[in-house]
């Protein structure tokens, strides 16, 4: 493998990793606050893909992008309100099952509404521009994805560590009851978490699908699972962990494909999951998982 191909693949891998990181953050934040693996998160990401297809059918991209983000956020927050909130005091398993139900519901709804045939993802002209550095060439989206990811992660970390609502989120994720005793409204804080997660999933979706060309009702499943593994790899609950996990998995996957193991690349993710769970269940940056009282 020549240096150029190596760099080329690295760039692709980093870019894929960026989209993964954005989605993985949604898993990790929801887990952090509700101890819930939001199985529907990958499908929210898929729905964002369809929103973009329909928005771009009649609107310019500059309006479509914010519209898609808003719709995705509404979808994510509504799912929480309708399917998870009524189960706040139920055993954890019930809410997990509810999440699996929502995941299938979204897939089937998408199949019913949009058929299972792949739909072409619209081109956002400026993202598709080709740029060159020396022998390297890539579309602009490949370059923008990791940069945007890093910027968003810094904004998010600022929000969580330096603002009042971020403080409330940290408090709620540690101790529901005591957080309420401070006057924090649980439901608002939880909605806010889903808002952020869905926002990032929408951005991730636009970046991811721009590179993939088409969307099916099942387009969210595999990336969703991979991003969940990324979150576990980084230490579920940890935002920097999810980001590092996302990048690692994106890069590994790209190189496995490049070396000709493309059939193996998905299996790799799950072997990785098993290995982490066996040898380091708390992940790279995870803290001890303490059950909430």
């Amino acid at each position: 493998m020549s240096l150029t191909t190596f760099l080329q693949h690295s760039l692709t891998g980093i870019s894929l990793g960026g989209s993964y990181a954005l989605i993985a953050i949604g898993y990790t934040m929801v887990y952090g606050i509700l101890r819930l693996i939001n199985f529907a998160h990958g499908d929210i990401f898929m729905m964002a893909g369809y929103f973009m297809i329909f928005a771009m059918a009649s609107l310019p991209w500059a309006i479509s992008i914010p519209l898609v983000i808003i719709l995705t956020v509404i979808l994510g927050v509504s799912i929480e309100r309708i399917a998870y909130k009524p189960l706040r005091t139920a055993p954890r398993m019930s809410i997990m099952i509810s999440a699996i139900g929502v995941s299938y519901l979204l897939q089937n709804l998408a199949t019913y509404l949009f058929t299972a045939l792949p739909r072409a993802y619209p081109e956002i002209p400026f993202l598709k521009k080709i740029f060159r550095i020396g022998d390297l060439s890539a579309s602009l989206v490949t370059l923008i994805t990791p940069i945007l990811t890093i910027i968003l992660v810094f904004c998010l970390l600022f929000l969580i560590n330096k603002t009042k609502s971020g403080m409330a989120m940290r408090a709620v994720s540690k101790d529901f009851e005591t957080a309420q005793l401070m006057g924090i409204k649980l439901n608002n804080t939880i909605s806010y978490t889903f808002l952020i997660g869905s926002f990032l999933a929408a951005v991730g979706s636009i970046l991811y699908f721009t590179d993939r060309m088409s969307v099916t009702p099942f387009s969210g499943t595999l990336p969703g699972l991979k991003c969940f593994v990324a979150a576990v790899l980084g230490g579920i609950g940890s935002i920097p962990g999810a980001v590092v996990g996302g990048f690692l998995i994106g890069i590994c996957e790209t190189f496995l494909v490049a070396f000709g193991y493309s059939t193996f690349s998905d299996a790799f993710t799950f072997i990785l999951l098993i290995v982490i769970l066996l040898f380091r269940p708390t992940g790279l940056f995870g803290e001890k998982i303490i059950d909430k009282v």
Partner: protein, 238 residues
């Protein structure tokens, strides 16, 4: 005319069919220290948690400043001036001391600086630990932080659930002094304690709670000298 900041009338609370509080009535006069003592499992914490809106009451009234607050959300109750220092302190371990204080004033829109200074005056040790994570504080320091955090919302009524739990006698005395100081500043206090001796000494009025009912009430001095209280709660200490 009596002036009660809080009065509870015939309160019943159940956990999934099991009654923990069975028709309790009590009054907390404005500006006083009232204590609620009783053995393990008597229902003391349940009463405080119901007042704070964390647990739903089955029936009864909780009149705070002439309004029934039963069914209000915790955030509304806190906003109206009631705070609870929960059993076992429950400081936020991975927030700093200063952040814990700030979050205590979560609902306030005005500047918190003065109140933070006030808490630091009450508990100078917290000032030195300002940037430390609350999880690394000692038990006594965490209790001080829990009290300080509760003060940040500028409450009219503070409820404290066993602040002496697991603390050395010297620290406990310090906490009791602070409770008196806070009370002198005009804050009404409802204190739940197992350490009946200390609680009754600082309280103006007390209630004894046994398996979900009030069995005895009286001024601090009356209860301290009551034979049944002496036998059941003061042990050999006197």
């Amino acid at each position: 005319m009596e002036n009660n900041i809080l009065s509870i009338e015939d309160l019943y609370v159940s956990y999934g069919g099991i009654r923990a509080v069975k028709g309790i009535s009590l009054k907390v006069p404005q500006g006083k220290i009232v204590t609620l003592i009783g053995a393990n499992g008597a229902g003391k914490s349940t009463i405080l948690r119901t007042i704070a809106g964390l647990v739903k009451a089955e029936s009864g009234k909780i009149i705070y400043q002439d309004k029934d607050i039963i069914g209000s959300s915790t955030s509304v109750i806190v906003d109206q001036g009631i705070t609870l220092v929960p059993e076992g302190r429950r400081v936020f371990p991975d927030l700093t001391v200063l952040e814990n204080l700030k979050i205590g004033g979560y609902l306030r829109k005005d500047s918190l600086d003065e109140d933070i200074e006030w808490v630091y005056q009450l508990f100078p040790i917290l000032k030195d630990r300002s940037w430390q994570l609350a999880g690394t504080l000692s038990g006594g320091e965490q209790q001080m932080l829990a009290v300080g955090r509760a003060l940040m919302s500028r409450p009219k009524l503070i409820m404290m659930d066993e602040p002496s739990l697991g603390l050395a006698p010297l620290i406990v005395r310090g906490i009791m002094d602070i409770i008196k100081t806070i009370n002198k500043e005009g804050v009404t206090i409802l204190l739940v304690e197992q350490n009946a001796n200390l609680a009754l000494k600082i309280a103006h009025y007390g209630y004894v709670c046994e398996t979900g009912s009030i069995t005895l009430e009286g001024t601090g001095v009356e209860l301290l000298n009551d034979e049944s209280v002496k036998a059941a709660y003061l042990g050999k200490k006197r």
